[in-house]
């Protein structure tokens, strides 16, 4: 914002304040005369009409932005399916999708068995991580909170590493082009999930003793996170080369790992938790207004914190366990949307959900094509794509 803009803004502000003062004075005089108040009623009616329209059009703008985001995501979904090592024209994509699964041609099988699950996984995981980010930022009252602040990613990575080391699950070296194949993915995933949920349980146990304040939760998360990071390092130090490669490879978040059945599970958990978090939108707004104010409004703040954290952890744990670590989406999507639609969770939750889907979908599409025929894991790209967009929004962000 230039200096002139600022000056203009300030003078505008003063003007508004002045009129308010005048009105306040007027009202104070009315207060002393009982009858004056009643005669003011008609005037109030007129002005209220204008206000209704103002507010409704403001709410309308927010919904328009969200629906626009959904429309862009749908288009991006089609684009994402059409591009790749085999390029498929978009009309063919649409007709194949409308034709339903079960086709036998190569194109149909590529679309239904590879591209659609991958694109839908990106959408579900992105949506989930972003919603989890919103919930955590609110209940922890910390703008830097994201699904990983509480140590979930380190816990999951440690769990996967232990799975690969001890049970010889996970991936082993091979001479295939991709260098690693998956031996027993379910054991690795299961270990990752158990460890990340264990982290949540640990933090909840600590809040039972110390109270569910944001400080307790964040500090406990940081401590547990370091603990698992140390554990991970120890495991990495002692394993042989092929297993080390597997452990590192597992950590690169990649939406291509999910098949239809895994996608179904991820989508189900994300859907249930997101609906729950959306139902609590007014509670999060109240908590944002201050803990005591929230209690004064009848909100059970501790319960809101704990359930919000469980829902967010569940989403993060399921996504991380199946797909590996995908950072940045959960941290940055809520902030992008805060800049655009504001902090009101009625709009922030759906807007972040759409933003997360779109960001991960775009990142995945780019990751698959940017250095073709090689395929990058999406986690590498989320930060590369998200960070510049985020910086742009910080500098230029326009509110609606």
């Amino acid at each position: 914002m230039t200096t002139e803009d600022k000056a203009e803004e300030i003078s505008k502000t003063e003007y508004t304040v002045d009129t308010v003062e005048d009105k306040a004075e007027d009202r104070a005089e009315e207060t002393t005369e009982n009858s004056a108040q009643c005669t003011a009623e008609n005037k109030v009616e007129d002005r209220t009409e204008g206000n209704v329209e103002d507010y409704m059009s403001y709410v309308g703008r927010k919904y328009t932005a969200i629906f626009l985001g959904i429309a862009v995501t749908v288009v991006m979904f089609l684009v994402s399916i059409s591009v790749g090592s085999v390029s498929i024209p978009i009309p063919d994509v649409i007709s194949t999708i409308l034709g339903g699964p079960g086709g036998t041609s190569l194109v149909e099988r590529v679309i239904w068995n590879i591209r659609i699950p991958q694109a839908l996984t990106a959408i579900a995981a992105g949506a989930g991580l972003a919603v989890a980010g919103v919930a955590m930022q609110s209940v922890l009252r910390n703008p830097l909170a994201s699904p990983f602040t509480l140590g979930l990613s380190n816990a999951a990575a440690f769990g996967a590493a232990v799975g690969i080391l001890i049970f010889d699950a996970g991936m082993t070296g091979s001479n295939m082009m991709d260098a690693v194949v998956i031996n027993n993915p379910y054991l690795t995933t299961g270990m990752a999930f158990i460890l990340s949920m264990l982290t949540t349980v640990l933090i909840l146990a600590i809040t039972r003793i110390r109270g569910a304040t944001p400080e307790t939760m964040v500090l406990a998360g940081v401590a547990i996170s370091s603990l698992f990071a140390a554990g991970l390092m120890a495991v990495q130090y002692f394993v042989d080369d092929t297993r080390l490669a597997s452990i590192v490879f597992w950590q690169f978040g990649d939406v291509a790992r999910a098949s239809w059945s895994e996608l179904g599970l991820i989508a189900l958990i994300v859907l249930i938790c997101s609906i729950y978090i959306f139902c609590k939108r007014w509670d999060y707004n109240a908590v944002d207004a201050g803990e005591e104010t929230a209690k004064g409004l009848g909100v059970n703040v501790d319960m809101t914190r704990i359930t919000g954290m469980v829902a967010a952890s569940l989403i993060s744990a399921i996504v991380v366990s199946f797909l590996g670590i995908i950072g940045f989406v959960g941290l940055v999507c809520p902030h992008m949307m805060r800049r655009i639609v504001g902090d009101d969770h009625r709009f922030l939750i759906p807007a972040s959900l759409v933003c997360g889907s779109l960001l991960l979908l775009v990142a995945d599409t780019v990751a698959r094509t940017i250095i073709a025929p090689h395929i990058l894991p999406v986690a590498v790209l989320t930060a590369f794509l998200g960070a510049p967009i985020f910086i742009y929004i910080i500098i230029k962000g326009r509110r609606i």
């Binding site: 508004t16 002393t32 403001y58 007014w282 944002d288 207004a289 104010t293 209690k295 004064g296 009848g298």
Partner: protein, 298 residues
């Protein structure tokens, strides 16, 4: 500035007409506020609306409040006064169970707050904290949040109407779409009081509503509160540091000392001796335009 206003007169002359503007559906929200208001409107207006009975509170082993018994009636503003750290804010927070008293009861009408849900308490008692967080939310949405205890899945026309009405009364209509992280402290204070009003409480608890405001804003916000109390026939309990502002706007004064109630009195009871006992400094109480003013001696 209509400084020495005639609030005593206004208070009793005001019919319930304006109450009905804001409390459009006193029955529609179940037991809570509606039932309680009805009960008292039929009875004598002077009956206690909120009553704290032998309330005790402690942080760990440190006793903060000892044997506090105090009550407030409809149309009354009660000021809680006393030096820093005496437990004024703690007492206020006990009165709507933000802090749970260790002993004693808080009654609203004839209902025991400890047996009510948070939501039911919030329908009866509004609370404005001393410091308010600002977020990137519009003034309108911030005030709409005050409807939280009454909200179902959907926001009704009635909720919107109440918010529009309250914004108009508080002179906030023309800034309804501004973000509250961009308005001044005085405006935010007004927004927060406004939020507590649309909660339709019968008792309003205000923790130092005038702290951090300049002189004209202090007058403005207290006039608004006086106006709300008179029009809606509700009650207000507020903690204050400024004795002279308290004397100007409140009806009843509770002086606290060492976690206990030292004295409960009206304007005429505020004497230099009392102030010296409570605050430990020598003062003169002089009369200016029929209003007592406390002036510290050297």
């Amino acid at each position: 500035m209509t400084g020495d206003h005639t609030h005593d007169g206004v208070m009793h002359e005001h019919p319930h007409s304006h109450r009905d503007v804001v409390h459009t559906h006193p029955h529609s929200h179940g037991g809570g506020c509606g039932g309680c208001c009805e009960h008292h409107r039929d009875d004598d207006d002077c009956l206690a609306l909120l009553r704290a009975d032998a309330v005790e509170f402690e942080y760990g082993t440190t006793k903060i409040l000892k044997d506090i018994t105090v009550e407030v009636s409809r149309g009354e503003i009660l000021a809680i006064l006393g030096p820093n750290g005496v437990g004024k804010s703690t007492l206020l927070k006990c009165m709507n169970m933000i802090l749970k008293p260790k002993a004693g009861t808080i009654l609203i009408g004839d209902m025991d707050l400890s047996k009510m849900s948070g939501r039911d308490i919030a329908r009866n008692v509004g609370y404005v904290a001393q410091r308010n967080e600002s977020a990137r939310m519009t003034v309108f949405d911030t005030v709409l949040l005050g409807r939280k205890p009454h909200l179902g899945w959907k926001i009704t026309e009635h909720d919107y109407d109440l918010v529009y009405d309250a914004l108009e009364k508080f002179g906030l209509s023309n800034m309804q779409l501004r973000y509250i992280d961009e308005i001044s402290g005085g405006e935010l204070q007004r927004v927060c009081v406004c939020r507590a009003i649309v909660q339709e409480p019968s008792v309003l608890l205000l923790d130092e509503p005038t702290s951090a405001l300049d002189m004209s804003r202090q007058m403005e916000i207290l006039k608004l509160i006086r106006h709300v109390v008179d029009c809606h026939n509700c009650a207000t309990i507020m903690t204050m540091h400024d004795l002279n502002l308290a004397l100007r706007f409140a009806d009843k004064f509770v002086f606290m000392k060492g976690g206990k109630i030292h004295k409960i009195c009206d304007k005429s009871g505020v004497t230099p001796e009392l102030i010296e006992e409570v605050y430990g400094i020598a003062v003169d109480v002089i009369s200016h335009n029929n209003m007592p003013i406390v002036v510290p001696k050297f």
